[in-house]
């Protein structure tokens, strides 16, 4: 049974602009996950949708994502995650890899 979790975060007050396009990181594998970050008009907010095979870790996801948005000056960002039981370490790494990618695209 896949669990579907939704999160919303206020965007950064001084976000990096312009942010364009989308970035992807990760693989579909047991113990891994795939992350898609898209630049979408959300009125300045950020949204995250997590589909996960490991149920009952909502508070951990919340902590991981809160930390991610605290580290990155993002607004109007949508994150979609397909998780196959990745540890928080892997989640953070994939998020950071996708974030680095989309920031580079914005800078171009």
């Amino acid at each position: 049974m896949m669990e579907l979790l939704k999160f919303e975060f206020p965007g950064h007050r001084a976000p990096l602009r312009p942010m364009r396009g989308s970035a992807f990181a990760g693989v579909v594998n047991s113990g891994s996950l795939e992350v898609l970050i898209e630049s979408v008009d959300l009125g300045g907010r950020c949204q995250v949708e997590v589909k996960t095979s490991a149920n009952g870790f909502r508070s951990t996801w919340d902590a991981v994502l809160e930390d991610f948005f605290a580290r990155n000056r993002f607004a109007d960002i949508k994150v979609s995650i397909n998780d196959f039981g990745a540890t928080p370490a892997v989640v953070s790494l994939r998020l950071d890899q996708a974030a680095a990618e989309i920031m580079e695209m914005g800078a171009k």
Partner: protein
């Protein structure tokens, strides 16, 4: 006036002669046939003897141990076994049957759960759990064996012994027994006319038996690069840039595990890109782990001394005598005692662990098992007797100097490398080590700690590096540990202000603080991505055991 004086100063010698005499019919010279070996053991061993069974990290006197489990318990009982590794079920059978009762050891790995049960039933009385060097030391102090069993590749008809590349623990076992009038019994894979080299001279050996099967040996140091994760690549990059380059670490020991295998496989790629060849990792104290091959072939590593060998690496090691310690016959000579000893005077130890508490104490103990330590506590501690200097040692000493004394001193870098969560979402960082529970359950005097917090200098996780040397007090130290503990309960309980401050001061360093692009943290960085790649790097000299071949 002296009321009583000893006149007999050679009781051990007299007793030894009695034993040899009793067994004279059972041996031809020193050679005992396998048909007579159980009888021989019943004849030369006496109840309450202290018996050392060679049970190393890898090589085991498994045949003799199996034979000991078959002696008549009316004749042989209440033995005191001293043995570094309890690895096979027959090692515990002798306790189950009452042949032995007391045990002093180092490590029990797979047998840990059964050992715990036998301790609970009163069938095993554990003297202590030791580190390797500590137990060998006691062979020459208060735990000298009366009888020892060792395992070797071959013997000639006089009893000269060739141990093969896995000499491991043989020298201290034989020396302590033979020179205190004990009895040395050797199982060999083959009796030959001439041994390739003499590792144990015949004078020190009493009996030799050819075992029906070669001694048991395990390739425990082989890590398949295919199983190294991107996270491990990221952590290895942080170690190379944030610790090895920072301190110019040149003389070190790597623990076993995928974390350190990842470091080894990044030397020819990432470390070379950083211009670190010839500056780091030139002298290593490690077994010939196959994952070292690319770094050796790239000229990164100058010299390696090994505690034991590794199955499949024999030809490769023999073909690189400038790097490894090889005998005049061409094959490697390992020695766990000397390797551990050298580790005391190296500049760095790095290894993994299962649990770390907020004081930085670490443990591999898990509930319901008595697993022991092995060599990590030796390698993973500051050596207070060191006097020679090196850049790394002096820098660590300066950083760790809290100004309590005017006298400068260096110190060893002791690094634990872990992911914040292990498999099944088991947190590595915990408020209380399971070792405390184990202490209570088995009425130990101390919790079995692997590395003490006071010896630990750095923790590396996927979240970053905590340099504990730079912490001004215990409170700061605790925050530095929490600051790399990720989303574990210990990590979530951090003070964000304190951690931000530690990061500003460089006590905590994230990958980005080290200028590492996380997109580079990818298995593509590894010099070899499979066992097959390692075989290629070795020019076909590495011959992996079957279980590691999938082509």
């Amino acid at each position: 006036m002296i009321s009583e004086t000893f006149t007999d100063w050679a009781t051990l010698k007299a007793n030894r002669h009695k034993r040899l005499q009793r067994a004279s019919r059972l041996a031809k010279g020193k050679i005992v046939s396998s048909a007579d070996i159980i009888k021989l053991l019943e004849t030369v061993i006496e109840p309450h003897d202290r018996v050392c069974i060679e049970g190393n990290n890898q090589k085991h006197a498994d045949y003799l141990s199996r034979c000991l489990a078959q002696v008549a318990v009316e004749r042989i009982h209440d033995l005191h076994i001293v043995q570094s590794n309890i690895a096979l079920s027959n090692h515990l059978d002798i306790f189950e049957k009452g042949i032995a009762r007391r045990l002093d050891f180092c490590y029990s790995g797979e047998q840990g759960a059964r050992m715990a049960r036998l301790v609970g039933e009163g069938k095993i009385e554990v003297g202590a759990i030791h580190t390797y060097l500590e137990l060998y030391g006691r062979y020459f102090m208060d735990l000298t064996p009366r009888v020892c069993f060792i395992a070797a590749d071959s013997s000639d008809r006089d009893g000269n012994i060739y141990t093969g590349p896995n000499t491991e623990d043989t020298p201290p076992i034989v020396e302590s027994t033979a020179f205190k009038n004990g009895i040395v019994i050797v199982q060999v894979n083959k009796i030959v006319d001439k041994v390739p080299r003499v590792d144990v001279p015949a004078d020190w050996v009493d009996y030799v038996v050819e075992s029906p099967k070669p001694y048991y040996i395990e390739p425990i140091f082989t890590r398949d690069p295919a199983q190294i994760s991107d996270i491990q690549v990221l952590m290895a990059m942080m170690v190379i840039k944030g610790i090895y380059a920072e301190y110019e670490v040149n003389r070190l020991n790597h623990g076993i595990g995928f974390d350190t295998a990842a470091i080894e496989l990044l030397l020819p790629t990432y470390a070379a890109e950083l211009g670190l060849k010839g500056k780091i990792c030139q002298y290593m104290l490690v077994n010939p782990c196959p994952t070292l091959i690319p770094a050796i072939e790239s000229g990164f590593i100058k010299s390696i001394h090994s505690a034991g060998s590794e199955l499949g690496m024999e030809k490769y090691v023999a073909a690189r005598p400038d790097v490894f310690f090889d005998g005049p016959d061409g094959s490697m000579r390992s020695n766990r005692t000397f390797c551990q000893l050298a580790g005391h005077y190296a500049d760095l130890f790095i290894g993994s662990t299962l649990q770390i508490d907020p004081e930085g104490n670490t443990s591999t103990a898990t509930l319901d098992r008595i697993a022991g330590f092995g060599g990590a506590p030796n390698f993973g501690s500051d050596s207070r007797g060191r006097r020679h200097t090196s850049k790394a040692w002096l820098k660590a000493g300066r950083e760790g100097h809290r100004g309590n004394t005017k006298m400068p001193r260096g110190r060893k870098l002791v690094v634990q490398i872990v992911e914040t969560y292990r498999e099944h979402m088991q947190p590595t960082f915990v408020d209380r080590l399971d070792a405390w529970q184990l202490k209570d359950d088995f009425k130990m005097e101390l919790p079995p700690v692997m590395v003490y917090g006071e010896d630990l200098t750095h923790i590396v996780t996927e979240e970053g590096i905590a340099n504990l040397l730079l912490c001004k007090n215990d409170k700061e130290r605790e925050q530095a540990i929490r600051g790399v503990a990720g989303f574990t309960p210990v990590g979530l309980a951090r003070s964000h202000r304190a951690v931000d401050n530690l990061r500003d001061r460089g006590v905590i360093k994230r990958a980005e603080d080290l200028g590492i692009d996380k997109r580079q943290a990818n298995r593509g960085m590894l010099a070899a991505r499979s066992i097959k790649d390692l075989v290629h790097w070795s020019g076909g000299l590495y011959e992996p055991p079957k279980k590691f071949r999938n082509w």
